[in-house]
């Protein structure tokens, strides 16, 4: 996936643990781990809103497009063809 979720440095800056953040935004630790390790397929706006609220950041601080691998470009192209 070419979209990378940058949580580590934000957690460090805000001095929050993953468990605390998961509790505050109302998701399980397992789901937060899925998000953090870039295994998630999609993120709800409500989750993104909760993350930005707790981490006091913008969505652009959390989500970065990093198409480093050729497969990422193909994956992005395939997603663009898929219906939203």
């Amino acid at each position: 996936m070419a979209i990378v979720v940058k949580l580590d440095h934000l957690l460090l800056d805000r001095r929050l643990t993953q468990t605390e953040l998961a509790d505050r935004i109302g998701i399980t630790l397992a789901n937060l781990s899925i998000l953090k390790t870039n295994k998630a397929r999609a993120i709800r706006f409500s989750t993104l809103e909760a993350l930005c609220r707790e981490l006091q950041c913008q969505p652009g601080d959390l989500l970065v497009w990093a198409p480093d691998e050729p497969g990422d470009r193909a994956g992005v192209a395939a997603d663009e063809r898929a219906p939203v």
Binding site: N31, L35, K39, A40, R41, A42, I43, R44, T47
Partner: protein
């Protein structure tokens, strides 16, 4: 989920019955070399199709105005005791194949129902299970048609009765094939459902 529980119970009972019949068929095949048909009453039932010969077996005409009445394409079961060990063994082998296939299909149904009862209808394996059930339904109908034709042909070649003309029959049930095809379509829908479920589970 009471309906699912009831159906699951029925399927479990059917599977146990099929397993018992499978074991009995296996024993029949295993002991067929020692079966002495002339001294043991082994009952066989063979599908047969026949028509009554009008001159020797006329059909009585009711007060209703009608002409050229005849009884045609009658279907029956021909009961006999074979005097051939090979026929006994071949029939036992056929029964083993039939009951083994039934157990296999019922296993797919049981696994499918288990996922329904545990709230996971779109488990990834269910699409494959439904496809197998569809192939089982279509295959069973094709085999049944072939066996039915072979049986009527055997009856025509080996049995005779006054005023009765045995003939072959191709009894192909299109509805069964259509049911199999519908199950294949449902399997496609379940495959898509599994994909959406997986995507949804990875949506945070």
């Amino acid at each position: 989920m009471k309906l699912a529980s009831f159906v699951a119970t029925l399927i479990t009972l059917a599977r146990q019955l099929a397993v018992i019949l499978l074991v009995l068929s296996g024993l029949l095949l295993a002991f067929s070399p020692w079966v002495d048909p002339p001294n043991i009453e082994v009952g066989f039932a063979l599908p047969a199709a026949f028509r009554l010969d009008p001159p020797t077996q006329p059909v009585a005409i009711a007060p209703v105005q009608a002409e050229h009445v005849r009884l045609d394409d009658a279907q029956a079961s021909l009961y006999f005791s074979p005097r051939n060990r090979v026929l006994v063994a071949a029939s036992a082998a056929g029964l083993i194949a039939l009951f083994a296939a039934a157990v296999w299909v019922l296993d797919q149904l049981r696994a499918l129902l288990h996922t329904l009862r545990t709230g996971r209808p779109f488990a990834p394996a269910n699409a494959m299970r439904l496809r197998r059930i569809a192939y089982g339904v279509i295959g069973a109908e094709l085999v049944r048609t072939a066996v039915d034709y072979a049986s009527t042909r055997y009856a025509m070649a080996n049995f005779a009765a006054p005023g009765v003309q045995f003939h072959t029959r191709v009894d192909f049930n299109v509805v069964a094939i259509l049911c199999g095809l519908m199950i294949l379509l449902i399997a496609q829908a379940f495959r898509e459902g599994a994909r959406l479920t997986e995507e949804q589970s990875l949506t945070i």
